[in-house]
Symmetry: C2
Subunit: 428 residues, 2 copies
């Protein structure tokens, strides 16, 4: 018999994984809402024209799940991120009061080559503010991202910050690079290939003298000092000054960030501050990223609406959190009470007892397949259910339950109406 698997790069999430994911997402939602972001959802499928021309060549030519409907011949694509659908949503709802603050937690699909930690279907957690050009909007995004990581239990991480305008002022206007992309790509690799590697690459692409200049800028390192140094060096440049003023106001409001001129970020649509979060441990690349995109919505509406936001990569966060031991499902099952039926001739009493416990809000499981007592006990243990309730003749005749807490090693025979209270004591 042949085996039918999920498609390559796609995953099933069995209960024990779901319970952890749900807790993680719940924590992130709580932070997003603490800042007043409202939930939004958009379709998994978008018309191809909506996504076309938004993400750059590699994404659209290779990574997008794009398909033609065999009946209508219409072209569709699966959602590639949550930002472009937001822009499309705004363009369909131009009467929506601005600033509009929303979060969106949902899967996106990318036709990547699957590998460890990289999937073809994965969740993004996005927060965005539409309608504010001001640094306080970017500062709030930085804070929300930082708070989310702290809420999950991460402490060792850096929020790297840069600005697309500053990059353009320095590399295009000041250093005169016509096509700065190869330089951006090189300096983006600083973490991966080290300063010497970057210097070599730069020397090849722009020559030794420019490479030296660029290296001296980058080697200022990260942080407030390097920002001050760069901003004062280029204060005569209007675009640099605009970016520097923006960054300064941003950093005066936001929690700790690390300025880093070597931060570039791939997406085409950024126009102002950009950010990225990296963990100290483990080394798994960025776990969140974002920035300001003041021109994207205009591609739908014809009228620019400033916007800024960030996206948390929960797949990597979960992998890292589990590795660090800070993320662990607080329970292995939703079930509070496993009702073990010792003698199946008392099923109807057991059924009624289960109902009674459920009425008090407890999650109660009763075997629907007439398993032996031994097998029910084994199952309850394996699931990690915190309270076991036994029903046999004596319980049925006296309208009671025998309750047992494996963790506390306690056992009690109680009247059915008192059972919820005792269960709650066992659970606490």
């Amino acid at each position: 018999m042949r085996e039918y698997r999920p498609p390559r790069g796609f995953r099933d999430f069995p209960p024990e994984v779901m319970l952890l994911r749900r807790e993680v997402i719940g924590k992130i939602v709580r932070v997003f809402e603490r800042y007043g972001y409202e939930p939004l959802d958009t379709p998994a499928v978008e018309n191809w024209e909506t996504l076309a021309g938004k993400y750059g060549e590699e994404a659209e030519g290779k990574l997008m799940w794009r398909f033609t409907d065999p009946w209508s011949k219409k072209e569709y694509a699966l959602r590639y991120d949550l930002t472009v659908p937001l822009a499309r949503f705004i363009s369909n709802n131009m009467d929506i009061p601005l600033p509009f603050k929303r979060y969106h937690i949902a899967p996106v699909w990318r036709h990547e080559e699957p590998q460890r930690g990289r999937y073809r279907e994965f969740y993004q957690c996005d927060v965005d503010i539409v309608g504010s050009p001001y640094p306080e909007a970017d500062a709030e995004i930085v804070d929300v991202v930082g708070e989310s990581l702290r809420e999950l239990g991460f402490s060792g991480f850096r929020i790297r910050l840069n600005d697309r305008r500053l990059l353009s002022a320095v590399f295009e206007e000041e250093l005169g690079l016509k096509d700065p992309l190869p330089v951006y790509r090189s300096i983006d690799k600083l973490d991966k290939i080290g300063a010497e590697g970057v210097r070599k690459e730069l020397t090849r692409t722009v020559g030794e003298s420019l490479a030296e200049k660029i290296m001296s800028l980058i080697s200022l390192g990260g942080g407030a000092d390097s920002m001050r140094a760069i901003c004062s060096r280029y204060s005569h440049n209007a675009k640099a000054k605009e970016a520097c003023d923006h960054l300064e106001q941003l950093t005066s409001l936001a929690g700790e960030v690390t300025f880093d001129l070597s931060l570039v970020r791939g997406l085409d649509y950024y126009t102002g501050p950009i950010l990225e979060v990296v963990l100290d441990q483990p080394k798994i690349g960025s776990v969140a990223g974002g920035g300001r995109y003041d021109k994207l919505i205009g591609t739908f509406t014809g009228k620019d609406i400033p916007a800024t936001g960030a996206s948390l990569g929960i797949e990597r966060l979960i992998d890292a959190g589990v590795e660090l031991g800070i993320l662990k499902a607080s329970r292995s099952t939703v079930t509070d009470v496993y009702l073990v039926v010792v003698d199946w001739s008392f099923l109807s009493y057991a059924w009624r007892a289960a109902k009674e416990l459920r009425r008090s809000g407890l999650n109660v499981r009763i075997d629907p397949a007439r398993a032996s007592e031994e097998s029910q006990r084994k199952r309850a243990r394996r699931l990690g259910v915190p309270v076991i309730a036994f029903v046999g003749m004596s319980e049925a005749e006296t309208n009671s339950l025998t309750l047992y807490s494996p963790a506390k090693g306690e056992r009690a025979v109680v009247k059915l109406e008192e059972a919820p209270l005792v269960v709650r004591r066992f659970l606490s």
Copy 2:
């Protein structure tokens, strides 16, 4: 400028809709978990071979979102329901302890002609028990479905119940119909076209005498009496007896159900009891349905594993509940406190005050776009935020906040550290 819309039949869910959907789903989840069902998720995309041959001709030839990947030429399909993915999941995890009880709440995609209440992307809420052939498993499913509707506030509904084996015993074995499908299709229309309409159709397909016999069976009406009548009339038939014994045990455990021989249900894979829920008002067709499918998992594994389950149609439930006035989002915004900044030179104090309130767990929104006081107040009102906090010079100088509850008409000037307590009093 052309407009970019969601694809036809697809919907955006703006915040006010999301808040209601989330409450509805939350209530359903609570009921599912109260019965010990554990969460499961599977990919949106399945290999085409996995879904092929499972749903019948119309579904696979027309309704499925099926596509060929332009790069690999592999054939995929978007998930059409949550039951076949469950069967595939079980076949990939044959060491999973049985009975396996899971719920799955997720979108599915169908290439329907969009119309009122019918979408191309919609959520299903499924509960299933894998690994039990016994009536108590079906009874639990019936109870979970009924409880879910009651939890949402519905009281006027019927759970219709029938059994595929009984249908087959009566119509194929006893009445000798070689192809009972046209008859099933006719009696399934009883609600729509009435008894006379059905009689006419039946007379055309099977002749007057058989049509009379069938009508007399159907005209027994629903309920326990008609079940007793039919079961005693066909007690000599082994298959009918098996179904009747099963239904009797089921109904002895489950809450109120209405036996109805005219219930058929469309899907091919049902093998035993089938159920469907209809509301008294409004008349919108079934809002939940399900049944036993003991052979489906075997198509993946080669070894039959009995299973039973049901699916709640939350799109219809929400539409109906809103129409009946029983479903209404308990709040129009996630935000508890809108912090109105009267004078933007005190932004940094306002920022700190917002943080302080958030630290106590409150959801606090602060305008990120330097709006006028008037415009901030208007926005807070429009969002329906329950507490407004004002920050101006006097508040900043005295480390305090002016709090206002529009609902209570109360106003209070309080020290920042006491603000969370007063806000909670306003919220209660």
